[in-house]
Every structure is written in structure tokens, then in C-alpha cells.
């Protein structure tokens, strides 16, 4: 993976974690869990 693409993925993951954190603070705990899951799967790259 090139540095640029790696950085882009890292930025997206960071934004996603912040969004999940805000959701959890707002009381949407289950939603926050699934957003974190989506970020993990996005970086993991599963094709399922």
C-alpha cells in the first residue's frame, strides 16, 4: 500500500472512531459498536 493510501485509510479510521465515540457519548452505544465493527472490517478487507 502506498503511503498516501495508507494515510487516507488511517484518516478515515480515525474519523470513524471519533464518530463512534460521539455516538456512544450521545447514548447510542449499540450504533457505536457497529461503526467500530465497520471500520475494523474496512481495514481488514473481508469480501464477505
Amino acid at each position: 500500500m502506498s503511503d498516501g493510501r495508507s494515510r487516507q485509510r488511517g484518516v478515515l479510521a480515525t474519523i470513524g472512531v471519533v464518530v463512534a465515540w460521539l455516538m456512544a457519548i450521545a447514548g447510542l452505544v449499540v450504533v457505536a459498536f457497529f461503526i467500530l465493527m465497520a471500520i475494523a472490517l474496512n481495514n481488514y478487507g473481508s469480501n464477505k
Partner: protein, 329 residues
């Protein structure tokens, strides 16, 4: 980690199990119990995980020869990798199915009926004489019964005796959209399926009709999901963006010939489909908590931007990263 725990983790196929749990959460949400940490992460998790481990065990036992061709380097195929014997795997499947059955019937009779039906589907799907997994179009319409309908009903019936007012149409929409997604799964398995006479839609009809069916299911399914929302709402606009990304991915897929490239594109489409489910769950949760339309719209836009950006990122990487993204469970 003990060998048994490792085997359970392999068979639960975490990426797929997470999606099943999302459908269970949507089932809970349809009854007005969105954001219900309990029972989602207690009884629902045990029932769905037990049923799914039983399903994967039976499928792995039945498809061992095909998996040795399709999934030689996969991490979640213990028979192929030599991490388990057939007897060990069978024992795990029986225990998992028994656990799901026991918890299901203990929680509620309706839940017990759903789990029992799901276990019967597992047998009919993977094992002779029916072996529905080898029957092309039929398979395509049966698989979402286990992947979508079962977890949705497990979620809904774990807290009540009926689906919510929009539950039926929501479930039908999710079912159709998932068909659009799962139709693409066969791209990964086409070589072994063809060799062993597994007549999947892709083997039988080829790339173009499979992609066309997938696109049609995603369009109709996502429209049905939004049956309860105004066509002028921000949620509808976000869903239109998701559907647009999925259709773009299918179009690119129809023109791709390299298997690793196809797999990378399918991963991007899967990513946007997860975005649909999570955005929907967020909508139900905010509605249940009485959020204002303005605040809900802001969250919808934020999630929309996040998931579209994730899709775009995966699509951009697809050519250079194709081989690295294929890590099937």
C-alpha cells in the same frame, strides 16, 4: 488461546457474524428496542452465534473438497488448514446447534420455533439429499433466510411476540438487498463450484445476468427499506447515495476479469451495504430516543459521508491492493 476456542473463532467467521448481529439489532429496533445492549449481547448473541457455527460446520463438512480448491489459503477453513478433524468439527457443530436450541426455547416459544427452523435449513442447505447450496437461484433466495430473516426474528422475538408496525416491509427490503449482496459471493468460489458441478447463478448464467440480478435486488430492496421514510428526507438521500455506490461497484465488477480484482470490488460493495444497515439502525435508535429531525439529519449526513468515503477508499485501492484484500473466512 486453547485449540477449542480457536476453532470456535474460526467457525464463527467474525466478519459474517458481525453482520448477522447487525440484522438482529435491526430486528430489536423494529420492535422499538433499538440500542438494547441486553438482550443483543446476551441471549441474542448466543442464539445467533450457536446457529451460525452449526451452519458453517455443516457447510465445511459438506464442501471440504470444493474448499480445498476455492479457499486454499483461507483462515477460517479448519479442514483445509488441518486445524481440526471432521469428528472434532461435527462435535462443535452439534454443541453449538444444541446451545442455540436450548437458549431459544428457554427465552420464548416463537424464538424456539425460529431457531429450530434455522437448524433444519442448515441441514437442508448443506447435506444430501436436498443439498440446496448446489441449486443455483434457489440457493440465492434461501441463504438470506438464514443470514437475514433468522437473526432479525431472533432479535424481534427475544423481546416481544410480533414485529413492529414497519417490521414486515423492513425485513422484506433487507432480505432483497442481501440477495443483491450475496449473489456476488459466488465470484470468489466460481472455480471450485464449476469443477464440482455446483450450479450457482454465476456458474449457470455468467457474469452479466448475476450482476443485473444483484443490481435489481439492491434497488428494489433499498427502496422497500425506506418505505417508512419520506422520499424528500435526508435519510432517503443518504440511501440513494449508498445505492448509487453499490450500483457503481456492480458496474465495475461486470467489466473486471481478474479474480483478485473482482474480490476487492465485492469488498467495497459489502462495505457500502454495511453502511446501509448501520445508518438504518442509527435512524431507529435516534427515533426511539426522541431526537429532533435536525439532529437526526446531521447524523445521517455524517454517516453517509463516512461510508461513501470508505467505499471510495476501497475502490481506489482495488487495483494495487487486490491480492491483499482477499482474506476470505
Amino acid at each position: 488461546m486453547t485449540r477449542a476456542a480457536r476453532l470456535v473463532l474460526m467457525m464463527i467467521r467474525p466478519p459474517v457474524a458481525a453482520v448477522l448481529l447487525l440484522f438482529a439489532a435491526l430486528g430489536l429496533a423494529s420492535t422499538g428496542r433499538a440500542d438494547g445492549v441486553r438482550p443483543l449481547f446476551t441471549t441474542v448473541l448466543v442464539v445467533v452465534a450457536g446457529w451460525f457455527v452449526n451452519a458453517t460446520v455443516l457447510n465445511d463438512l459438506a464442501d471440504e473438497r470444493i474448499d480445498r480448491i476455492n479457499l486454499q489459503n483461507a483462515r477460517g477453513r479448519p479442514l483445509v488448514s488441518g486445524d481440526a478433524t471432521r469428528a472434532e468439527l461435527l462435535m462443535l457443530g452439534l454443541i453449538a446447534g444444541g446451545l442455540a436450541l436450548a437458549v431459544g426455547w428457554t427465552v420464548a416459544p416463537r424464538l424456539g420455533i425460529v431457531v429450530t427452523s434455522g437448524l433444519i435449513l442448515n441441514v437442508a442447505y448443506s447435506l444430501p439429499p436436498l443439498r440446496l447450496s448446489a441449486r443455483g437461484l434457489v440457493t440465492l433466495f434461501l441463504l438470506p433466510l438464514g443470514y437475514v430473516v433468522l437473526p432479525f426474528l431472533v432479535g424481534a422475538y427475544s423481546v416481544g411476540t410480533s414485529l413492529g408496525p414497519n417490521g414486515g416491509i423492513l425485513l422484506a427490503g433487507l432480505y432483497l438487498t442481501f440477495i443483491g449482496r450475496i449473489a456476488l459471493k459466488d465470484f470468489r468460489d466460481v472455480r471450485g463450484d464449476g469443477l464440482f458441478g455446483k450450479r450457482t447463478m454465476l456458474v449457470r448464467h455468467g457474469t452479466a445476468p448475476t450482476c443485473l440480478l444483484s443490481a435489481a435486488c439492491i434497488i428494489v430492496g433499498s427502496s422497500m427499506i425506506l418505505g417508512f421514510a419520506s422520499w424528500h428526507s435526508v435519510l432517503a438521500a443518504v440511501f440513494a447515495a449508498y445505492a448509487g455506490c453499490a450500483l457503481h461497484g456492480i458496474r465495475v465488477l461486470a467489466r473486471a476479469h481478474e479474480p483478485s480484482l473482482q474480490h476487492a470490488i465485492i469488498a467495497s460493495i459489502a462495505s457500502i451495504c454495511r453502511g446501509m444497515g448501520i445508518t438504518l439502525l442509527t435512524h431507529f435508535t435516534m427515533t426511539a430516543k426522541g431526537w429532533s429531525t435536525t439532529h437526526m439529519s446531521l447524523v445521517h449526513v455524517a454517516l453517509g459521508l463516512l461510508f461513501v468515503a470508505m467505499y471510495r477508499s476501497l475502490m481506489i485501492e482495488r487495483e494495487s491492493e487486490a491480492a491483499a484484500t482477499v482474506r476470505p473466512y
